[in-house]
């Protein structure tokens, strides 16, 4: 397409201008499609006529750290309730909360900290009281084989070591800061990443030597990174609250999904991923 329009553009200035306009339209389209992937078009609660039969799409906004376990739970939910579909929007809890208060159509919000959940409850965008469904602990992620011999939080302050942290605005960054403060350490990272997954990715790609992320993320990354426990992480355990949202397009199915997350089988999936029970 680009080749074709470029070739046409060689002939006359007028088609050059047309091609320019085409490029502008393409730019606009690509910009909006990337931010609008949480579309809940299929959520028509047509079969909610009294019976327990659930249908339609459940849209779940969940913290990036829940990605693996919630994806598994979503598949289990779809299997248990044929005709339903669970779609996820994983991201930094704060930006998810901001899109919910901004009016994004969602049924469930699972956040990585009470503070971000409070943004939603303060705006009265929740339909049920948030409940803590899991807790998460920090861990240091290092390169496979731990070539820099990192054994403690203090080792991260060594000079020449490239460490990434989450931004202080997102829960994993706030937790990391809390752990650092508790141990009286001062750490200058090379970057404050916008969510826990991008912090971990920088280590997976070997661009950074270490990152302070959640234990669950280290588990999920398999052997691409190595996890190092540190005692100060006990001072910065994060509670994960979940709530049904006001104006949920598919409230019945959403409630059933929240129930699954809290059920023993749901908890088994979550603890299997490294989460702690509340």
């Amino acid at each position: 397409m680009t080749t074709a329009s470029a070739r046409r553009a060689r002939r006359t200035p007028r088609t050059l201008r047309a091609a320019g306009a085409g490029v502008a339209v393409l730019l606009a389209l690509s910009a909006c499609s990337s931010s609008d992937d949480s579309d809940s078009a299929g959520s028509s609660p047509s079969a909610s006529g009294g019976s327990e039969k659930l249908s339609g799409t459940v849209t779940v906004f969940a913290a990036a750290s829940l990605k693996e376990s919630f994806t598994t739970l979503g598949k289990e939910f779809e299997k248990a309730h044929p005709g339903t579909k669970v779609t996820f929007n994983f991201g930094g809890s704060d930006s998810l909360a901001a899109s919910i208060t901004g009016g994004a159509p969602a049924d469930v919000f699972a956040s990585a900290s009470p503070k971000t959940m409070k943004i939603v409850t303060d705006a009265k965008d929740n339909a049920t009281e948030p409940v803590t469904f899991v807790r998460n602990q920090l861990e240091i992620a290092t390169l496979p084989g731990n070539p820099d011999k990192i054994t403690s939080l203090k080792d991260l302050t060594k000079s020449g070591l490239k460490v990434v942290l989450c931004d202080k605005e997102v829960p994993c960054g706030a937790a990391a800061q809390k752990a650092l403060d508790a141990s009286g350490l001062k750490l200058t990272p090379v970057s404050y990443e916008q969510d826990v997954k991008s912090a971990l990715t920088k280590v997976e790609l070997k661009e950074a030597d270490a990152a302070v992320v959640y234990k669950t993320d280290v588990n999920a990354a398999g052997d691409k990174v190595e996890g190092v426990d540190f005692p100060e992480s006990a001072d910065a355990v994060n509670d994960y609250p979940i709530a049904l949202l006001k104006d949920a397009p598919n409230a019945d199915a959403a409630e059933a999904f929240i129930a699954l997350v809290q059920s023993p089988e749901g908890q088994k999936v979550l603890t299997g991923a490294g989460f702690l029970q509340p």
């Binding site: 070739r7 553009a9 050059l16 320019g20 930006s95 970057s191 916008q194 920088k202």
Partner: protein, 287 residues
């Protein structure tokens, strides 16, 4: 026979909406058909409304507090410095590239042109990932940069410039190439028959001839670099004072303090408008 005074201005005029001389112009209400006027006004409203909304929602009362924080100036300064550096890189590499595409016949030119314009349609985050794969510490080329020279680009200000240049340079190249193809090559040929080398002809004849197109392209590239977000946060990360440009600061502020994000957006908007408006006349009169 082409009219050399009109064509080079075409690109700049398209970009700026500047007036075309010597053409009859319609006045609103007299000659403008409704089927054109209505969508035109709707289009205008669509583009301007979000900017107006930003002004409406700006916390004017606390604005001065929001804007006097050192972080804001740090981010703004970094944004301006990096966008300017990225434009300089684009000029040094992009003008010769545009000349090559416009003046030299070589096999696969269409493909090369498509590749050059690819970053225009590529999502910037994809650009950032590609840059990491190429120039990251563990990247295809970056590995050797690190091993031989000890240079690593990610997480550095230079990394921001690289990311911005990658996204902004195509704007300069297509603008300059369009101007070059519209410019009459016979002036260059005349110069070479009079004994000038091809490079001298380019420097002394072609470059002054296409100056408005280069200026237009440079400003476009600068504005694009200033607004660059995806490739920057992916490739260069986010560290205040080193890699945190204004768009990154806006994004992260939005997560905890929407008012601060609005205030920061306003600054970026003001700077962009000032530059685009300030340079408009220069392009259009230069031709």
């Amino acid at each position: 026979m082409t009219s050399p005074h009109d064509k080079p201005a075409a690109v700049a005029d398209t970009l700026t909406g500047g007036p075309r001389r010597g053409r009859p112009r319609n006045r609103v209400g007299r000659g403008v058909p409704l089927p054109l006027l209505l969508p035109a006004l709707l289009g205008l409203a669509f583009l301007v409304l979000p900017l107006v909304a930003l002004l409406v929602r700006t916390p004017w009362g606390t604005l001065s507090d929001q804007l006097t924080s050192p972080e804001v100036w740090q981010a703004l300064r970094l944004s301006l410095v990096c966008a300017t550096a990225a434009t300089a890189v684009s000029l040094v590499l992009g003008v010769p590239l545009a000349w090559l595409l416009a003046r030299v016949e070589f096999p696969g030119r269409g493909l090369v042109r498509a590749l050059v314009t690819l970053p225009l349609v590529l999502p910037p985050v994809v650009g950032g990932v590609a840059l990491l794969m190429a120039l990251g510490r563990n990247g295809v080329v970056g590995k050797w940069l690190d091993a031989w020279f000890g240079i690593t680009l990610p997480f550095t200000t230079a990394g921001v410039v690289v990311a911005e240049a990658f996204v902004a340079m195509p704007f300069l190249v297509i603008s300059v190439e369009g101007t070059l193809r519209a410019a009459d090559p016979r002036y260059e040929e005349a110069a070479t028959t009079l004994g000038a080398s091809r490079f001298t002809a380019f420097r002394r004849v072609t470059l002054p001839l296409i100056a408005p197109g280069v200026a237009a392209g440079a400003v476009l590239a600068w504005a694009r670099a200033l607004g660059e977000f995806g490739a920057t946060i992916t490739f260069a990360g986010n560290f205040p004072g080193r890699t945190q440009t204004m768009p990154l600061a806006v994004y992260l502020a939005l997560q905890s303090d929407p008012e601060a994000a609005i205030a920061l957006s306003l600054v970026l908007l003001a700077v962009s408008i000032a530059v685009l408006a300030g340079l408009r006349d220069r392009w259009t009169t230069a031709s």
